[in-house]
Amino acid sequence: MSALTTTTPRRADRTSTGRRLGELAAPLVFFVLLALAWQWTAYHNRSLIPPIQAMVTDLSSRPDYYLAQLWETLQSALIGLVIGVSIAFALAVGIVHVRALRTAVMPVALLINVTPIVAISPALIVAFGFTRTPHIIVVAIVVFFPMLINATVGLSSVDPQAMDVFRTLSATKGDVLLRLRLPSSLPFVFAGLRLSASTAMLGAIISEFTGTSKGMGASIMLATSYLNLAQMWSMIFLSALTSLALLGLVAVAERMVIRW
């Protein structure tokens, strides 16, 4: 039996600790490299991007200013997100029940999705004035499409065999919606919510480029015109981190809701 080779244990077991360390190390190393490249560029071209410590200094010297702008933008983003996502979901419910609605709504939704919203936002300010409304509308528009698509797919993606059970029971449309379509759609709805959440802050910021003097978008504009690189890039990073936090919240909510 000497020729029989001893099979090696599964690689996953042998190196699982090493691999886990590697998984943590890889992004860290990558981030450090990116930071170094950033610093090099910042010192190489002073009017391109600020050095990291300039951002840290600015952020820590006036946290309330940053928090105030963040809160302003976050409000528009969250209200717009809730409104846009709700309308999209309601429309999706209509679409899975009324076929004509689908063919009517979808082309328009697609058209809106490929329209440069940033070019429209001045018109919204003309129409709705210097209130929060136009900013909320921009957010609602940008978050609308991903949720519409995902909710429509989700509400349609019921197990056909479970549907047969409901149909032989003569379940009402309300029964089917509440007890079958809705729970079945949740994974898709959360996927849509992730997409929507990642664009909500972007929409709010872009809309704040005009029509307001508050919020992160206005602050970025102001920083651009005064060439305050530290403020501009602190805001950009702050907005990106806020979006990531929103994404994280959606993921947590998903894990709490979908327990099956």
Binding site: D159, D164, V165, F166, T168, L169, P183
Partner: protein, 272 residues
């Protein structure tokens, strides 16, 4: 298949001259042709035939899930929709099709939660059964509060059967409920079904492409042939009840299985 006058039950399912065509991308398929069938109340009847012979289509027409092109279907003297509106049809599909967000008990209770207007209609022949009693009978009492994804495939299929029986419908339609199980779990599931059926004596129309399964479970096996789907013959299974696993090892059983298979083969050759 004619109802014998000696049968003291009424006719649960009456089918006359049913035709069904499917049209996909222009090409038409004759799925069912000239189907005539009577199922007396309280009988276990199996539709047996090769893949594509229209077993599922016929069962779906009985359930009102599919409309026929011609012919007539009547359940207890009324159209399928009327029986369905009174929740008098229990449908047990091929996959367990449990709702993953409900516990096993909640799944078994599904029929009580939907179409509540039916509960207020009079004259129903439906006698809902206690879900917990059924789960116990199916050996699932310990899993009543578990979610379907914590169950094995065989247990899930048993939960699906519990749901069907809990509805208490006089007519149960089952479309290959065991086809996804491995041979050994399948045998266990078959025996459980036999036992339950012998206790509650519902009218059952069962679909399978396993000759042994058809013989083990049924009072009558309806042998179907494809292209177009027709009823070739009806084989009476005069094996004694209650039936058990020991039955499968008898020569009588083996002979009936061979007979059913041969009937199918001869029908097929005749069709070609």
């Amino acid at each position: 298949m004619t109802t014998s006058p000696a049968d003291r039950h009424g006719i649960a399912v009456a089918v006359r001259g049913v035709e069904k065509h499917f049209t996909t991308r222009g090409s038409s398929l004759h799925a069912l042709s000239g189907i005539d069938l009577d199922v007396p109340e309280g009988r276990f009847v199996t539709l047996f035939g090769p893949s594509g012979c229209g077993k599922s289509t016929l069962l779906r027409i009985l359930a009102g899930l599919e409309a026929s092109d011609a012919g007539e279907v009547e359940l207890y003297g009324q159209p399928p929709a009327a029986a369905s509106a009174r929740k008098e049809i229990a449908w047990i599909p091929q996959t367990p099709a449990l709702l993953p967000w409900r516990t096993v008990r909640e799944n078994a209770r599904l029929s009580a939660d939907v179409n509540r207007t039916a509960d207020r209609l009079g004259g129903s022949q439906r006698v809902p059964l206690d879900p917990d009693e059924l789960l116990a009978a199916l050996g699932l009492e310990a899993f009543a509060d578990a979610r379907p994804d914590q169950l094995s495939g065989g247990m899930r299929q048993r939960a699906s059967i519990a749901r069907g029986f809990a509805q208490g419908a006089p007519l149960m339609l089952m479309d290959e409920p065991f086809s996804a199980l491995d041979e050994l779990s399948r045998e266990a599931a078959q025996l459980t079904l036999v036992e339950l059926w012998e206790r509650y004596r519902k009218t059952v129309v069962f679909v399978t492409h396993s000759a042994a399964e058809a013989v083990l479970l049924s009072d009558q096996v309806v042998v179907m042939t494809p292209r177009p789907g027709r009823i070739h013959a009806v084989v009476d299974i005069d094996l004694p009840r209650p039936r058990s696993s020991r039955l499968e090892e008898t020569d009588e059983f083996a002979a009936l299985v061979t007979h059913v298979k041969h009937t199918l083969r001869s029908g097929w050759q005749a069709a070609e």
